[in-house]
């Protein structure tokens, strides 16, 4: 009988954990004209969600492999500003998924029910840093992609309260949607935001991960996030060009023109510099591709919890397991471009003041991370993780130039 209750709870999936309240770490509301303050690394936002008991029950029913996750209505207050009904759902799968009563990842869709944006934003994503004791990996990772390839999401921080319960500190992530494309267009990073944006994150079949990539007969697994359904014709064009290149023994002209290789190679260099073991270069996983009308395809990073994990000089980087990397490496000219990009971008990243960026992030998040009532790392683990990051930022550019066969 002693073990019957815990065993029954395990079988039923119940997790009767109760959490306390952490320190109030959020910043004072600030005057704003645009959405820049939401992603300001000098402040921690405050987000309050109010859910009905029915909505809570719905969210509790979702598990790591629930697909799609269920979206419910919640009342939201962002930095003292009541923004009415928003759509809320849990995010994540194996590794990062946590249930509603723990510290889940969230998707907040501002306009799901009201049709109204919040400071121009349609949605934001809240990441729980479940795989990151430092709590600052993701802001550093997205900043790296931003620096080398120009295509990335902005990040910030938020202290979340759900029905007045303190859910602690979260990484706030700019959702990649049509508004995000609009921002890229405004900044001149793309010429036209009316193209198709696809998610290339892995899907699962009978709980088994199925990687999504070009040229594997799995074009239909690319998930159309924004744009028009054209039957994956844009994706298939690249897949066909990759297969044609395999027969030719070098990259086909079609593939050369269909992909913005400068941007994609910069993305792949960032994957390696960041030691990302859960990205396009590794899975492939956690990436998006955008097809601008009349322009070559570009790539964006998504969900960067796997960064700073694999040394940049490891042998795994020498033989790309992804289709685009493999096609480029098999082509002498493209391979040379890739190596040049690696040298150039390593120098660029070395010149950046990463240590002060890291120090600023650590100072901003220290109290919230250490006092997080739902945090799963000890202070000692956090300090070790942050010390490792500091060392990584010092030596990554040197290591990324080394091709070692461990």
């Amino acid at each position: 009988m002693t073990y019957a209750a815990p065993l029954l709870l395990l079988l039923l999936g119940c997790e009767p954990t109760s959490y306390g309240t952490g320190p109030e770490i959020y910043s004072e509301p600030t005057a704003h004209d645009d959405d820049g303050w939401v992603f300001d690394h000098g402040r921690i936002n405050r987000l309050e969600l109010f859910l009905s008991p029915d909505a809570e029950e719905i969210l509790r029913s979702d598990r790591a492999f629930s697909s799609p996750k269920k979206e419910v209505r919640a009342q939201a207050i962002f930095d003292d500003e009541a923004i009415g009904d928003v759509g809320v759902r849990l995010r994540g799968r194996l590794g990062s998924f946590q249930g509603y009563d723990n510290k889940p990842k969230w998707q907040i869709d501002f306009n799901e029910f009201s049709g109204e944006r919040f400071v121009g934003l349609e949605a934001v994503s809240l990441n729980n840093a479940a795989e990151d004791c430092s709590m600052v990996k993701e802001p550093l990772a997205y900043a790296t992609y931003q620096a080398v390839s120009g295509i990335s999401s902005r990040t910030g921080f938020v202290q979340l309260f759900v029905n007045d319960a303190d859910y602690g500190l979260y990484v706030l992530l700019e959702t990649q949607d049509d508004r995000w494309l609009d921002r890229l267009e405004d900044q001149g990073l793309i010429g036209d935001d009316s193209g198709n944006l696809y998610d290339g994150s892995y899907t699962s079949a009978s709980w088994w991960p199925v990687w999504v990539d070009f040229g594997r007969g799995r074009d239909e697994l690319f998930d159309l996030e924004e744009g028009q359904d054209i039957g994956w014709a844009d994706v298939s064009n690249i897949s066909a060009a990759i297969e044609a290149g395999d027969e030719l023994g070098h990259m086909s002209t079609t593939l050369e023109r269909a992909v913005d290789w400068d941007q994609v190679l910069a993305h792949l260099v960032a994957d390696r510099w960041l030691g990302n073991d859960d990205c396009y270069s590794s899975g492939p996983n956690n990436y998006r591709v955008y097809f601008e009308p009349g322009a070559p395809m570009i790539m964006a990073p998504w969900d960067q919890g796997g960064t700073f994990n694999v040394p940049p000089d490891g042998s795994r980087w020498l033989n790309p397991s992804n289709a685009l990397g493999g096609s480029c490496r098999a082509d002498p000219d493209c391979g040379a471009r890739w190596d040049s990009a690696r040298i150039e971008l390593a120098a660029q990243l070395t010149a950046m003041d990463w240590q002060s960026h890291l120090d600023d992030l650590v100072e901003l998040t220290q109290e919230g991370a250490n006092g997080d009532p739902r945090g799963q790392c000890s202070v000692a683990e956090r300090n070790r993780a942050r010390a490792t990051l500091s060392t990584w930022l010092e030596v990554a550019s040197e290591l990324v130039l080394v091709d070692s066969e461990d």
Partner: protein, 188 residues
Amino acid sequence: MLWPLFIAASLASAGADPPPAPRVVGLGMGFQAGSQAIHGVAWVPAADWRTVEVRVFTGPKTSVDFGTDWLRLILSRLLTSAPTLPMSVCLHLRLPTDGGWALAVAPGLDLGIGLESVIREEQLAHRPLVALSPSAKLGFEHTSRGGHYDYGFYLRGSTGATFAPSGTKRYSRLVLEMTHTWNILGTR
């Protein structure tokens, strides 16, 4: 479609003399490992633990087998919003050969029943889920001296679909199966 079944049944009935004390019920378990195609997605590895297998012998060389997989029920409860209990039933025919081994053929049906959680009018609701697939297995099995237990190795195939509120998904499975059953009532 039924001719292989008729041939197997005829061969089974034409075999050696039946054992003097017939088996009645066998209880055991088994493992399956192979591959599964989720149509429109990919072939992926498949593994099952036939947590309980019950054989009700209807004759010296025939039985009706019922299988369940409680491990998958627990995993689906913990990891998905659609807890499902996989079950199977098949007609198991044996053709004894020299050396104590028998050729076995078993046409049947795989059935999964479960509940999928969905949103209905902003409330949580549970709707039934059914997986259905005809199956067949072919292999060899051995009965111990005295008939206390059987074990067998089979190639097992099935194809069908899961019908759930979230949609219909077609699938096919091809696995190697190993089972071991103890004859708990009656031995020869």
